[in-house]
């Protein structure tokens, strides 16, 4: 089915290759779980398999990639044979309505209308999304978007389907949905499937083979036997060496009957809660539960419709709005996408950015620059956009926390991070706590919330479904958080 021989890919302006001498063979009907850390070359290798490299992403490519014995020169000519669902479905949609998006591929293949209609209906049915056919893509949840992205690729009937980190931005319930879809494809279509992931997750139970890459090379390759499938990585993250105890100090944030409406829709519904000084709060809930909106209210970026919020000395209730610029001195905010919050031309000036703007003592920020140089082995004058995804994220955290804020808000800092990078972020969160700072982390990672956080706020449809110290929660209650919605 797929033969890759001596594949070498080096991006422009990079001295080291991203993929170096990769050779492997995949048989028809195999389900391969391709794992590896950030920058291990797994996504690059799959882009080369789809001929996205070098046609769309410019890079030097050598070696051969054959699918069913054929070599393809560009992504369009390979399109009927291999398709790749990318990490963020939002970036690959080119229409507005679900069925138009699914029909896009068959339309390009100049299929008769009846065949296109059949392909659309079959593809949507195979991912359990027939009911979404007439919906606008912008109104779908994260899990629904991922299903539509998979259906849009299935509609061109590829022989090889590649899914690049299909669950990285999803909540646990949506992850379960997507895994179920992939499982049914595997069982019913016998299609050859490659799933690219950082962690084995739930795909390990479906995979017939595990491959693992490191530094552009294939380091591990095992096929499932009667004894099972040995995986070099554990399923869950390592536990905290110094578990966080519940914090009972003074409240630094208090919200009472906090409500936020927009366009007639209620996003936040009468929230009442407190955040204690020095606590690490896991803010959890399904995609669209109102978590990011809550963080924006706490920074003054959004004005609540009603209710009162006090963040340190700042009143943010309706009619008592404090400017976000003022609140920003005390509250650091790490946004979801690292690229949205890198403004300067060097790592040093990026980390000093907020301190310069607030004209505060730069001692802590300079310390953060030194720490970054030492821990990442990256010079301070390097442009932040030249860093890896994980390094950018850590620059974001340092940049948002080194001008002296006492409360740090992080919006899904683990999304798209491999285990090594996630571990570094966990250590940074623990470090902030040791400094006495209060932290709120939006996350879907239950293991992180259990082992590294002191408190939990679980939201559902704008309301708090569960809140309180993490220590009080039993394993059964944790398991029930996402499965039952309101535990």
């Amino acid at each position: 089915m797929l033969d890759v021989k001596d594949l070498y890919v080096r991006y422009e302006n990079r001295s080291k290759p991203a993929v170096d001498g990769l050779t492997f063979h995949i048989d028809p009907g195999e389900f391969v779980l391709l794992m590896g850390g950030s920058a291990s070359g797994k996504s690059t290798a799959m882009q080369a398999v789809c001929s996205v490299i070098p046609g769309i992403v410019h890079a030097e490519k050598r070696g051969t990639v054959r699918i069913d014995g054929k070599e393809f020169q560009d992504a369009a000519s390979a399109s009927g044979v291999v398709c790749m669902v990318q990490q963020d479905p939002e970036t690959q949609f080119c229409t507005e309505i679900v069925e138009d998006e699914v029909a896009f591929g068959p339309e390009n293949f100049n299929m008769p209308r009846g065949t296109i209609r059949e392909a659309v209906d079959t593809s949507l049915a195979s991912v359990g999304a027939s009911h979404l056919a007439h919906r606008r893509l912008s109104t779908l949840s994260g899990g629904e978007k991922q299903k539509v992205a998979i259906a849009s690729m299935l509609a061109v009937r590829p022989r090889l389907l590649i899914l690049d980190e299909p669950t990285s931005n999803l909540d646990p319930r949506a992850v379960r949905d997507v895994v179920a879809v992939v499982d049914s494809l595997r069982r019913e279509t016998k299609m050859t499937i490659v799933v690219v992931e950082h962690r084995p997750g739930q795909f390990i139970d479906l995979a017939s083979r595990i491959m693992m890459m490191d530094k552009g090379r294939l380091e591990y390759d095992r096929v499932r036997t009667e004894d099972g499938l040995a995986c070099p990585l554990g399923r869950s993250a390592p536990k905290n060496r110094e578990p966080a105890a519940a914090s009972r100090s003074v409240a630094v944030v208090s919200a009472k009957e906090l409500t936020f409406d927009i366009g007639g829709a209620r996003i936040i519904d009468r929230l009442t809660f407190e955040l204690r000084e020095g606590s690490v709060t896991a803010l959890m809930g399904e995609n669209g539960a109102g978590k990011t909106t809550l963080l924006k209210i706490l920074t003054g970026l959004l004005e609540p419709s009603s209710g009162d919020v006090r963040v340190f000395r700042h009143g943010i209730g309706a009619g008592a709005r404090t400017e976000p610029w003022t609140i920003g001195k005390d509250v650091g905010f790490v946004f979801q996408n690292p690229n949205h919050q890198i403004f300067e031309r060097s790592v040093e000036s990026e980390i000093l950015f907020a301190s310069e703007n607030y004209q505060v003592d730069k001692g802590e920020a300079r310390g953060a620059v030194n720490e970054f140089e030492a821990s990442e082995e990256v010079m301070r004058f390097v442009h932040p956009h030249c860093l890896s995804f994980g390094q950018k994220r850590r620059v974001n955290i340092r940049s948002a926390s080194s001008h002296g804020p006492r409360l740090i808000l992080m919006d899904e800092p683990f999304a798209g991070q491999d285990e090594a990078n996630a571990g570094r972020i966990r250590e940074m969160v623990a470090g902030l706590r040791r400094q006495g700072k209060t932290t709120v982390v939006v996350t879907h990672d239950v293991a992180f919330a259990k082992d590294w956080c002191t408190d939990l706020i679980f939201m559902r449809q704008g309301r708090i479904a569960r809140s309180g110290p993490v220590a009080g929660l039993t394993d059964r209650e944790w398991d029930g958080l996402f499965s039952r919605g309101i535990p």
Binding site: V52, I56, V57, D74, A75, A76, S79, G80, C83, M84, Q86, T91, Q92, F93, C94, T95, E96, I97, E99, D100, F104, G105, P106, E107, N108, F109, N110, M111, R113, I116, R117, V120, S138, S152, M153, A155, V156, K296, L301, P324, W325, G328, K329, V331, G332, F333, F335, N337, N339, H340, Q341, I342, F343, F353, A354, N357, Y358, H385, S399, H403
Partner: protein
Amino acid sequence: MSAEPDSSVRKLNPISKAALLAMFSVLVLFVTDPVQMCVIVACVLIAKSQYKARGIITKGIFAFAATIFLAQVIFNHSGETVADWNVFEVTTGGIADGVTIAGKFLSLIMMSWVFVATTTPTELSSALATAGFPYRYAFLPALSMRFVPVFRFELATVRDAQVTRGMRLDKSLKGIIRSARYTTTPMLMTAMSRVNSLAASMEGRGFGMSDKRTQLKPVKMTAFDLAFILFSATAVALAYFVTGCPALKIF
């Protein structure tokens, strides 16, 4: 942004609506009579009132039209004097030109708004492709409009990130230049990554592979569309002759 599906204007082929917009624009450019212009503006505002627009945009458009009108009243001294306060002289010519020029601006912008509100980018692309326009180019409006809300959202996020890192967004020239400097890089980086992902997704599904492309839902010209275009063209031609072609004098 789009009107409800049962709107009769919405059912028209986008090419018919584009043709009407073009003919209407020609008609508006010919009108020099302030009374005729007031009638046209009133009709356009009634048409526009059927479709919601963001308040800030509507206010901005009206503010700009008012500025045009006032500039004519203050600086255009043709015709008879209506009022004279030393340096400030108001004339009939100034008022008439103010009404017609501001009216042209308002009616063109508002009619364009009605076109946008009643036509989805996908419909426009489909109509162009069905009419024989090369599909690679016909798809451009749909693609570009698809990303308008995405980039608007990303711009807002970048601005939010700037504010939370202590950057004041003041409206002085220096502030605007500083804001532009710190906005360009993140926006460019996200746009470039989106372009690559989208190109991979489109080509990965065979876009551009063949010269022809089937459309699941072709948007064809109907007899009603043709009648509508004919009627509009006749109405514009009649109006052109009824007004006595005064605009020709400017050439």
